[in-house]
Amino acid sequence: MPLSRRDFLKLSGMTAAGAFVGGASFLTGCKSADKLRGTRESTTICPYCGVGCGLIVSARDGKIINTEGDPDHPINRGALCAKGSALFQVGVNERRLDKVQYRKPYGTEWEEISWDDAIKRIARRVKDARDATFQEKEGAVTVNRTPGIASLGGAALDNEECYILSKFMRTLGVTYLEHQARI
């Protein structure tokens, strides 16, 4: 969502370029002193604790350039803690996974596989586990459940994802369903 540029983000009264007569300064390598030049801003909510602080993410050419507290947000009013202030490094981080990783049984390393391959293989495992363990009845009661599969996690997913996970697992018949709220 493009936002109108807020006052707080404006350059201050002085001109940045005029700050250093000598030219090369701390920001050598970043051609302009205006770090946010030409960025597109969007709002987000901090992924860490449950306060729900607002942030503004500035991106240029598909890359995150800056993350900062959203001053319009009524709860945090532009402030953040150390974690929220570090959100940038969640986006820009060499440790992020960018490929599907697969570890075969008894394997000692990850291998790369394609999404297509991964989804096909997982669907096969899920179907086999469901079909092998499915229970239709317990005594006279219809139970339609799949004890062979468990699902854990979800407290960091979006609501829409949580709902879909909840619906998906119930559709499979999963009752071993738990997440961070219980630990």
Binding site: M14, A16, G69, G78
Partner: protein
């Protein structure tokens, strides 16, 4: 003194260290490699460095009144002295005043360590290895001096360190207004903290990072009185001249430059 300033209020700091991280984010500074806490309590790293321009120091808890233990947590960055030692002794005039703030131009810096030696607050530091800037092009250069530049190099209405502070322990604004606010705060807390004071009114001709303290400045390692007076201008010039001579023998090696500076200072001393 007109212009902008920071106000640190140690009675409001909860030690979340948003300032320490926000500065790194805005300035693309890398994290330091640490193994355990470098200073008292959660203090980490031990001090400001060439890649850490904002620092939070956790003092040991004072239990002299067991009913009401006091844990002081203090934000620290460059104090931006009105009469700044670093500026006075820099042989290259690489340190100048921009809108009142004391800033280093790294393109002029020769890494001689004059500023490092003369700053009683231990603020500027010489980077001892080239460091890649985080998430941005370019590197921060070895053998150059770095410290807080009050985001003068990428200015916004309020620097991110102050804007991100959730408790109002670090604020930014017109110095005159902040002095007023700081003094009012001192009055407010003086019943609880009889030695409370606003630090930075007089020191080095007045500081641009003012601090509301619960106790006497010495308790927090902050100089007062004679120790908080700028180096004499004539003496600074003599040091610079001596250094200019000695530096001929340093072969451009930063380590020797630093030695040469120390010798110059002791010769003038």
């Amino acid at each position: 003194m007109s212009g902008k300033a920071f106000l640190v209020d140690t009675t409001k700091c909860s030690g979340c260290r948003a300032c320490q991280v926000s500065c790194k984010q805005w300035n693309n500074l890398p994290g330091e490699k640490t193994t355990f806490f470098g200073g008292p309590e959660y203090t980490n790293p031990a001090e400001l460095s060439a890649i850490t321009f904002n620092h939070v120091k956790f003092f040991p808890v004072d239990r002299s009144n067991p009913e009401k233990p006091v844990w002081t947590i203090m934000h620290k960055k460059c104090y931006h002295c009105e009469e700044a030692n670093c500026m006075r002794v820099c042989p290259q005039h690489a340190i100048s005043r921009v809108e009142g703030w004391v800033v280093i131009d790294q393109s002029l810096c020769i890494g001689c360590g004059a500023c490092v030696n003369e700053c009683v607050y231990n603020v500027p530091h010489i980077l001892d290895e080239d460091v890649k800037r985080y998430g941005a092009e370019g590197i921060i250069k070895k053998d150059k001096s770095y410290k807080c530049h009050a985001c003068m190099e990428n200015p916004r209405e309020v620097p991110l360190c102050a804007r991100h502070c959730p408790t109002g322990a670090l604020t930014y604004g017109e110095r005159a207004a902040l002095v007023k606010r700081g003094l009012a705060r001192v009055k407010e807390i003086s019943a609880e903290y009889p030695h409370a004071n606003l630090y930075g009114l007089e020191e080095f001709g007045g500081l641009r990072t003012l601090t509301v303290l619960k106790d006497r400045p010495e308790k927090y390692g902050l100089p007062v009185g004679e120790k908080a007076k700028a180096i004499d201008l004539a003496k600074a010039e003599a040091i610079r001249d001596t250094y200019a001579f000695l530096s001929i023998f340093t072969f451009g090696l930063p380590s020797l430059k630093r030695v040469a500076y120390r010798i110059s200072k002791s010769m003038v001393g």
